[in-house]
Symmetry: C2
Subunit: 467 residues, 2 copies
């Protein structure tokens, strides 16, 4: 087998896409379909994402989607982000939509039903068997970021009296529809979860053993209302492939599989990163950047900027109160951006490390003293090095006197140390009162440190220059 | 079954830890051991992490570790972060260390050998069978962040002529040592990978079918030197449990399982977040915040601060050139921090969204024009709202004249728009030349926007105040 024949899809996708866009222009839709069918469903979905980005060919793209074999079209649909799914939904018939929704895995089905308008959901549910309809309605009612919204009811459940051989036969029969057959769940007659057994245990166990003799009873479980971030923590800690989800009566209501957790981890990281930059996602949406309107973007970004406006009133007041003295030695103004900027940046560095450390469970509020002592020393090292650099700059490069250099350098040293203290302690404080430390965004820390920086600078000027 | 009996470990861990710290003070080590053994290995490891944090009880902690049953001690060891592993290694005998290393899963074994000093590694390898020694040496030579460093050679490999029944019997025999039995790999006589077959396919397939008839040949694979970020991308895209790793001749050399990928995703996210805050992890270490020395922290944070010092020389020059005029209307100085700060913050917001969007494959450099147009409009909306706010502030609150208010407000509008443009375009540019956009950290963007902000401000002052 020539290794060159085994080509990774990504390499080929770009090439195919170019051809496809050409064919769409010529309306050769069947050619496009045949080209797409050379790939697996995940790659086809990726190519549809590219095509759906261009509103000019939306109609053609939907036509091509409808030309796909039915089973493949369902798979492709499940790989698409929800925004693109809705674009497809708008272009297909109700019957086609109904078919897709029926065929989707249960968790994907719930995801798309959550996005669809209510009248469409009702239409689809009309054609759904009563039992499943009830189940769907239960699932639709779980809040968007809790364990219940991530789980699927498609799991293998075994009886504790079964033998290994019986269990294997059962799995062989039922396995095709289950989300995973690698962990099987043992329930009592009251639907309460009493144990789990992995397929690998089943495979290597003697055929005549009873399930209750080989099942684990000290398994980890998740309550259906647990936050998804906590669910991700459990997966990271234990390295499971799936975790059972139970209700308040410890009845098994579903399972969560690891592949759905990768997405949750990225979502949570995105949320943290955005919050740290002072962006608040009000709608808690997983919409992509380009799919959000100008207004949504503005509304997400404005609150912190407005809050900081108020903070800057104080910065302004500090300067105004020093105005008369400042105009005596106007060259001091030239160093203000540097001192404030450095304070802000160095404070953000400390804050970022602490916020991330808190999220990764590497530090906690009780470490405050150790962190404080560390940051003070780090601040001193950095402050001293930057001060030396600046002494040279102020005296030689700018040609200002040594007393001005001394003012700038001492201010720099103290500003860096104070910024490090502020940047590291504020997130710990916020965590201590059980808020998300990422919410006290870096912009807030830099504006507080701006005010501190100015005060220190003017105090140094008073000491060294007698202002 | 009373749901109250089924208690999640975390809830109990805290309580037990308190007891344990008490017993350590009284040197009741056996009591500590018995308390620990109530938990599973992942939880025991978590408790050891807490104990190892206190250097005052390090010796006691190691004694307790040595009291654990051998099999459990190995498992606990594998769950510990590498820094804590080294603390344990320092306290145990060479024989004990040798035992632990032999018993670890292959990928954990490689991880700890990479951290140990060379003479210890040699000592351990002396006692290792020749075949495994050669394998270990190969694995130790893969660069730290490539696919090779994540993989394990413990996988199930099948022959294409086997029947399903033969394969299942083989798995039953060999399965215990494999990292996962859920995906099995089919190799030809030249060790080249020719197909994969999942255990679920085996379980639901007819016993007499041949492996070659049910195996997938259009599987996805990873080259052994591929970067780990790319590996994580593949897992996210396809939702696999394991991916085969091949060398340049397409020979199967190992597999990577999804549980090791969760960690990689978090590592990559941490790296991005730190880089965006202007922190460079020179040693590419996964050391925790508290385990890093003051010097390491300072060295990671200094480079950007020093580079920005140079940038601030330009900001200073802009102010100096405007100094004489500035001293005429000294009240303009009071608004400088606000204008520069808002420019920096709003630029960082745009940069953060674009950098994250690039990392998540949601935007790409070819979207530049669409992004530019979107950010200009967002900037206009935000700039106008902030301007109105400021007009009121400058006129009524500060009691300055309308021309000064006009200067500040027009400057604000243009600064926000320019900062949005800078913040969104610079990451795209950096990506275009194939560098990591996160490396052009937010501090850089805010210092560039500082200079732009001042220039705009002074230009507005020249227009409206005739300076």
């Amino acid at each position: 087998m020539d290794p060159n024949i085994v080509m990774q899809p990504e390499a080929a996708v770009e090439e195919s896409l170019e051809k496809i866009f050409g064919w769409i222009g010529e309306k050769k839709y069947f050619k496009v379909r045949d080209e797409l069918l050379k790939y697996n469903e995940a790659d086809i979905a990726e190519m549809f994402e590219e095509m759906l980005e261009d509103p000019g060919i939306l109609e053609s793209t939907v036509v091509i989607y409808r030309l796909l074999p039915k089973d493949i079209s369902v798979e492709v649909f499940s790989y698409l982000p929800s925004d693109d799914q809705l674009k497809i939904v708008d272009g297909i018939t109700d019957a086609e939509l109904s078919y897709i929704v029926q065929e989707l895995d249960f968790d994907d089905k719930i995801d798309i039903l959550e996005e669809l308008p209510a009248n469409l959901v009702d239409k689809i549910l009309e054609k759904t068997p009563k039992d499943e309809r009830r189940l769907i309605n239960t699932f639709l009612n779980y809040p968007d970021t809790c364990a219940g919204s991530l789980m699927t009811p498609d799991y293998i459940s075994l009886q504790k009296e079964m033998t290994v051989a019986e269990a294997m036969a059962y799995i062989k029969k039922e396995g095709m529809d289950a989300e995973t057959i690698y962990t099987c769940y043992v329930k009592d007659t009251g639907r309460k979860l009493i144990g789990i057994v992995s397929l690998s245990t089943l495979v290597v166990s003697d055929d005549n053993l009873k399930i209750m003799d080989i099942m684990h009873t000290d398994y980890v479980w998740i309550n259906v209302y647990e936050d998804q971030e906590e669910v991700a923590e459990q997966f990271k800690k234990y390295g499971f492939l799936a975790i059972p989800v139970v209700d308040n009566e410890h009845r098994l209501v579903g399972i969560i599989t690891v592949d759905d957790i990768l997405e949750v981890i990225e979502e949570e990281n995105t949320e943290d990163i955005e919050r740290m930059a002072g962006i608040i996602d009000w709608e808690d949406s997983d919409k992509e950047y380009l799919d959000m309107s100008v207004w949504q973007h503005a509304i997400n970004r404005l609150p912190w900027l407005l809050i900081l406006m108020v903070a800057y009133i104080f910065t302004g007041m500090i300067i105004t109160s020093f105005e008369a003295k400042l105009s005596e030695i106007i060259c001091l103004v030239a160093y203000m951006p540097m001192l404030m900027g450095t304070g802000g940046n160095t404070g953000s560095q400390a804050a970022t490390l602490i916020i991330r450390g808190l999220a990764m469970d590497e530090v906690e509020p009780s470490d405050a003293l150790r962190i404080l002592w560390k940051e003070v020393r780090i601040g001193a090292v950095i402050g001293l090095i930057l001060s030396v650099f600046n002494f040279v700059r102020v005296c030689w490069f700018d040609g200002n006197g040594p007393m001005i250099a001394l003012t700038v350098c001492c201010a720099m040293l103290f500003i860096v140390i104070f910024a490090k203290i502020l940047g590291s302690m504020i997130p710990l404080l916020v965590k201590k009162v059980n808020l998300d430390p990422a919410l006290i965004a870096n912009p807030a820390i830099s504006s507080i440190s701006d005010a501190v920086a100015l005060s220190i600078y003017f105090a140094m000027a008073a000491i060294f220059l007698g202002l």
